[in-house]
């Protein structure tokens, strides 16, 4: 099973820059996830001030808004696409990630994405 994991947070709350030790711990964690054959792809988000919102409006027009947006919580930090044998295993990896982030209130979302092994049921 594949899961897309990302962090949610409030960009307006200032966060301390991670120390070298914290960066090292995160690097080791990513290495561990790769070694376990779990991490398929990972990346980081630019701040929402760089983001654009595109909405489809009436009459086939578009409403295009430059970031940042007013939403309380936004996609921040990074994302990872992982492959695990179950949803529970994905949750366990998310816990390990958050333990290294170490910020109370930090939030990861774990969303299953359909990969090649998730066929529509026969006849469906």
């Amino acid at each position: 099973m594949r899961f897309f994991c990302y962090t949610l947070g409030d960009e307006n709350v200032p966060m301390a820059q991670p120390t070298e030790a914290e960066m090292g711990a995160m690097g080791a964690f990513i290495g561990e996830a790769i070694q376990a054959g779990v991490l398929i792809e990972t990346g980081g988000f630019a701040p929402t001030s760089e983001a654009v919102k595109v909405e489809y409006a009436a009459g086939g027009t578009f409403k295009v808004t430059d970031g940042p947006f007013a939403e309380a919580k936004e996609l921040i930090g990074g994302w990872a696409l992982i492959q695990t044998s179950s949803r529970d295993e994905a949750v366990e990896w998310a816990k390990r990630f958050l333990r290294i982030v170490g910020i109370v209130g930090a939030e990861s979302r774990v969303r299953q994405v359909f990969g090649p092994s998730d066929f529509e049921p026969a006849g469906g």
Binding site: M1, E41, S86, V91, E92, W93
Partner: protein, 424 residues
């Protein structure tokens, strides 16, 4: 707010940690079976304690500590017993192991190496192929006996027995806990790759049963392959195998029709191929090629898969290159099956008559006597040569030979279709 069931959390910790745990314990006690028992004991302790105490910050280290203490207790008891019976040699032997166990837990750097050593044990040639597959899935893949049994459609006691026997065989053979030296490495690595690919293939083209694929096994094999590629980054064939599996898996969604029927490669909707896995597969193939030397059999097969993956439409397939690659594969690993695939490629590159010539040379091949793909391919070539009556006969023969229900349905349809053309 709903919390997660603690037992499910423990299960997933086990899924992540058990391979490394058993590997680390095998280093201490020199016995895979005993190591697995100790790891299971530690798991039982976790099931008793974690729901109360919460999952520890480093669950892997927690399990290792508990299991190591049990190992030390056990070894002390054994040493005592041996002394009592005045078995001097045995006493010394146990004391040596004990001294090792009482030293600090293995450092993190050793964990990967231990896992690799364990993989070489579970794929050891003293074991039967079935035992290697079962033991690898159980100890490295952390599958339960029940999960293995369901994946391979065999009764659970059969798998349990296979594992028990495998453990005994390994203990009796006193198989060392090591990565084989340079002399042995080639053959031993081949055995490891073979086990992983067997698992993948069992998932990719189920040899029996109603389903054409069992995707869980493909994922397990891919995970094993990716782990091995991290542990042995300098081995071109490891990357070759990973590339092959990633690219084959990229087509998983496209090779099954809405009714569950198989769709042949050239008829697949390529927009349903998974671009991420193709990209990963091509990257793995590049790593394999970059390591230099001539390509091994897995890398050549990956190059064949990559050749298909690069063609945006079936009509754009580079059949000349494919025919050349199958030629290379036939020289590396000559087999009737490779020859059959070469015939398909030659049939596409140089016309169905050229393909049929190669196929007919295989007609008396005993290994292919009961293989449904021989008449299936022959039927296809005959259909293209506008000989529908003969083609229908071949498709029907193929349908009689396959054990897969869905494939049989498809072949019978092609037989009816060809027969219809023959009448017209």
């Amino acid at each position: 707010m709903t919390g997660q069931n603690p037992n499910r959390a423990i299960d997933s910790v086990w899924r992540i940690e058990s391979g490394r745990l058993i590997a680390g314990l095998t280093r201490i006690v020199h016995d895979v079976g005993l190591a697995e028992d100790l790891a299971q004991d530690a798991l039982m302790a976790a099931i008793q304690q974690w729901p109360e105490s919460g999952v520890p910050d480093n669950p892997g280290a927690w399990l290792m500590t508990v299991a190591r203490h049990r190992a030390i207790d056990l070894l002390r008891r054994q040493a005592l017993l041996a002394r009592k019976h005045e078995e001097l040699g045995r006493t010394l032997e146990i004391q040596q192991v004990l001294a090792l166990a009482e030293r600090a837990a293995p450092a993190d750097d050793d964990v990967g190496d231990d896992l690799l050593r364990l993989l070489f044990i579970t794929c050891h040639p003293v074991l039967s192929r079935e035992a290697r597959v079962a033991l690898t899935l159980r100890l490295i893949g952390a599958l339960t006996t029940d999960e293995i049994a369901r994946a391979f459609l065999v009764p659970e006691p059969t798998v349990a027995q296979r594992i028990v026997r495998a453990r005994r065989t390994l203990t009796a053979a006193n198989v060392p806990f090591e990565v084989p030296g340079p002399v042995e490495l080639r053959a031993r690595l081949d055995a490891v790759l073979e086990v992983i690919y067997l698992i993948f293939n069992e998932g990719y083209s189920a040899t029996a049963g109603d389903e054409w694929m069992r995707p869980g096994l493909c994922e397990d094999a891919l995970r094993l392959g990716r782990i091995l590629a991290e542990l042995m980054p300098g081995e071109p064939e490891v990357h070759g195998l990973v590339a092959l599996m990633e690219i084959q898996e990229s087509r998983a969604r496209a090779r099954i029709g809405p009714g569950g029927e198989p769709i042949l490669l050239l008829d697949q909707d390529r927009s349903r191929w998974d671009p991420l896995l193709i990209r990963r597969g091509l990257a793995a193939l590049e790593r394999s090629e970059a390591l230099g030397g001539s390509l091994g059999p897995y890398a050549v097969q990956a190059a064949i898969a990559a050749c298909h993956a690069r063609a945006r439409r079936a009509a754009e397939t580079d059949w000349l290159r494919l025919a050349a690659l199958y030629d290379a594969l036939a020289q590396l690993t000559p087999s009737p099956i490779v020859e059959l695939n070469r015939a398909v490629a030659v049939g596409m590159a140089f016309g169905p008559a050229a393909g049929l010539e190669l196929i007919d040379a295989l007609a008396s091949e005993p290994a292919l006597k009961a293989y449904h793909l021989l008449p299936s391919v022959r039927g296809d070539l005959l259909a293209r040569l506008d000989r529908p009556a003969e083609a229908a006969l071949e498709f029907r023969r193929a349908a009689d030979l396959t054990r897969n229900v869905r494939e049989r349905t498809m072949l019978l349809e092609r037989a009816t279709d060809s027969a219809g053309k023959a009448i017209r």
